[in-house]
């Protein structure tokens, strides 16, 4: 096991790099699979000094569910924002800042949450508080800021908590 852990210091990165290489080549062959795997072996090793605390995933299977939810929300977000742009007068919109208190503590998890917020309906993550306890979110049209905050915490943060911590 120790030998295996040393050969694959970051197994997810190894798999990801192999996959990205195969996609780049755009045609499956044993050659490119082997070369991708070789990259997946070498790159994590030479970069390992830069990530002393790699994130551990407690329930990686939930990632699939999370990705599907986010993809669906992105489609909805596009339609909602397009509707606001086309059929609302600019002065009727109520743009607003919202502070979202964070339960997530791992930087990787917060990054995923911030990215998700930017890609989904009418919200955009802008900044973090000085000690990292709050996320500053800008809303394009938020008559009820508390509802938006609760929605973010319920829909995304709860799932990320399950995945990461």
């Amino acid at each position: 096991m120790r030998l295996l852990a040393r050969a694959f210091p970051h197994p997810y990165l190894t798999v990801l790099l192999t996959l990205v290489w195969l996609l780049l080549v755009n045609r499956f062959s044993v050659n490119s699979l082997l070369f991708g795997f070789f990259l997946g072996l070498v790159i994590p090793r030479i970069t390992s000094v830069y990530w002393p605390n790699r994130p551990t995933l407690s329930r990686p299977a939930l990632i699939v569910q999370y990705v599907l939810i986010v993809l669906w929300d992105i489609v909805v977000a596009n339609v909602v924002v397009a509707w606001l742009i086309l059929f609302r007068r600019t002065r009727d919109l109520q743009p607003r800042w919202i502070a979202v208190p964070l339960e997530l503590r791992k930087p990787e998890a917060i990054t995923v949450l911030a990215g998700t917020i930017t890609l989904t309906p009418g919200t955009l993550s802008a900044d973090m508080s000085a000690e990292g306890h709050y996320l500053l979110v800008h809303c394009l049209h938020a008559p009820d800021p508390d509802a938006v905050r609760d929605e973010i915490k319920k829909r995304y943060e709860r799932r990320l908590l399950e995945i990461f911590e």
Partner: protein, 121 residues
Amino acid sequence: MQDVMEYLIALFLIVSGVFGLVGSFGLLKLGDPMSRLHAPTKATTLGVGGVLIASMIHAIALEGKASFHELLITLFLFLTAPITANFIAKVHIHRNETPQSMPPAGEDRLWATHDVDKETA
């Protein structure tokens, strides 16, 4: 079958064109800098997504080989779009907002962009 696929490709291209146009229009129409940032980060995602789906259908149905570069473009787009938006938002906060004009940051008191020494700022 060929015809159906071509209609499908055309449909995705039209959808993506419409969303790209709306995103650009929003950039012009909306009032303040932060609101303007919403239009290109969202509407354009589906705009680009539509072209990529059309491209994949075209490769599979008309050229008879699967193409996966589109998946990679999607992945890179989803990685970079939020970061670009975040950069622009931070520049806006840095130059146009003061700690007083922002919502309170709870026990942390300041937002990270304002949490710099006066000398370096």
